[in-house]
Amino acid sequence: MAETPALLAVDTLQAWYGESHILHGVTFDVRAGEVVTLLGRNGVGKTTTLKSIMGMVDQRSGSVRLDGRETIRLSSDAIARAGIAICPEERGIFASLDVRENLLLPPQVRPGGLDLDRIFALFPNLRERLSSQGTKLSGGEQQMLAIARILRTGARLLLLDEPTEGLAPVIIQQIGRTIGALKAQGFTILLVEQNFQFAATIADRYYVMEHGRIVDQLSNAELKTNMGKLHDYLGV
């Protein structure tokens, strides 16, 4: 298969929180324009993988290349400026900031981010709530805000950690459409999901994690024939 070069290439990535060794050599890649999903049970290290890519763990080793450039020794602010942005699992909406301030918080790191009009076209609810306190929004609105604010920055690679967690089905659908729209606009997305049904509607490829390692990978086409295996991995 003639492949576009990887936008993100992760190689034998290890990570620690203090003394706890969490990632034991994670290897995978994400090509430009793809939506790739990390699947796995609770506690296998999906969030830690995203945080390690972003430089947000205590210690890491191995290799994380963005567009060929090694970032393993960079601090997380430098990684952000290289063009990666994260939407964390706990959403990270700031209580002491109103919605507008939350939205405008991440600085533009490179040209080509979405302007506010296009962001409000994706998330119409946010426009009416601009002067509310960030954490006064509903869970769904907070999730939209957490995604919206990283679209302005010009980062081309988005790390989304369980964006559907705890949300109502209509909201999940809206988030699914949004991710589709972002892909159409050329964003590359690395998604962590437990909601496998949801992931199946938007992802190009899947990696399965267990105990701090990637143990399997699948393309969307292989999904149907591997359902049984996946259910075993995920324990559903």
Binding site: M54, G55, M56, S75, S76, D77, I79, A80, R81, A85, I86, P88, G92, F94, A95, S96, L97, E101, L104, L105, P106, P107, V109, I150, T153
Partner: protein, 295 residues
């Protein structure tokens, strides 16, 4: 001349004025402490010493370089703020990730060293500092006499406090600071250089203390222990207002200065303890302070 509750107006308003003056310094100093605590998680016990350094810097600049009050008002905060940045780089950046106790002990030790150093070179008697010419004299308002310099201190410190509040609560840069207070790791992962911001915040807090020191020089004697005299009260103010609340620090500072002044009129025996009594009551009723958020 007239009387209120049997107290001559001159005495009442005179004490009110002294209260407001003290309150101006309480507000400036507790504001700096609150800014530093919010961002660095450090209880800056060196704050009083840094205030004293500000006053001494103004005195020395005048004595040896002939630089007047107005020049000192600008360059002393920059100079002393820079020493704060050195302290942050050398020590605090490592200590602030540990338990509060470490930062407290480190800055307390620093305060003792600074104070000892100044006492060694300047003795403990104190040096006078002249009120700048422009602000000499005063106004008779009928019910009281208002020295111009004191009016200036009250107005200027209110302006500085308001400007700081505005910068933190209403500007883009302030939103970075507030966000980094909540979740520094995430703010950093958005591409903001949080360690540099922390360093500059400490420098700014120290600069505020030094500014207060310059303003205090013409009112109190410039002496090595002027910092430790005031800082105990300021810590009580911070406890009452609530650690980490900007507005709380400012309002509590002014309010307690006034309460202290009024106590001097109506119940002089209690004037030295009233703030600590209030602190004890607040701690019992609202342990997080009047403006504090419970964690």
């Amino acid at each position: 001349m007239f009387e209120i509750f049997g107290i001559p107006s001159q005495a009442l308003f005179g004490q009110l004025l002294i209260g407001l003056i003290n309150g101006s310094f309480y507000a400036l100093l507790s504001l700096g402490l609150a800014v530093i605590f919010g961002m660095l998680n450090i209880i800056n016990f060196a704050h009083g010493a840094q205030y004293m350094m500000g006053a001494f810097a103004a005195y020395l600049l005048l004595q040896y370089l002939g630089l007047n009050y107005w020049v000192a008002l600008i360059i002393v905060p920059v100079l002393i703020g820079a020493t704060g940045i050195v302290v942050e780089r050398l020590f605090l950046q490592y200590v602030r990730k540990l338990d509060h106790v470490y930062g407290l002990i480190l800055t307390f030790g620093l305060a003792l060293m600074i104070e000892g150093f100044f006492r060694n070179y300047f003795g403990s008697s104190g040096e006078p500092y002249q009120v700048p010419n422009l602000l000499l004299g005063g106004q008779n308002l009928g019910f009281m006499y208002l020295p111009t310099y004191r009016a200036w201190v009250i107005v200027f410190s209110a302006i500085v406090c308001f400007a700081t509040w505005f910068a933190i609560e209403r500007t883009r840069l302030g939103s970075y600071l507030r966000a980094a207070t909540e979740n520094p790791a995430l703010v950093r992962a958005f591409g903001i250089n949080v360690p540099r911001m922390v360093m500059l915040t400490y420098g700014f807090g120290v600069a505020l203390a030094a500014l207060a020191g310059v303003m205090a020089a013409p009112i109190y004697n410039v002496s090595p222990q002027m910092g430790s005299d005031i800082i105990i009260v300021v810590f009580a103010v911070v406890v009452i207002g609530g650690m980490g609340s900007i507005l709380g620090a400012i309002l509590t500072g002014f309010a307690l200065g006034i309460i202290e002044g009024l106590t001097k009129v109506f119940f002089p025996e209690a004037s030295n303890t009233v703030i600590f009594v209030i602190m004890a009551i607040v701690l019992l009723v609202r342990p997080a302070g009047l403006f504090g958020r419970t964690a």
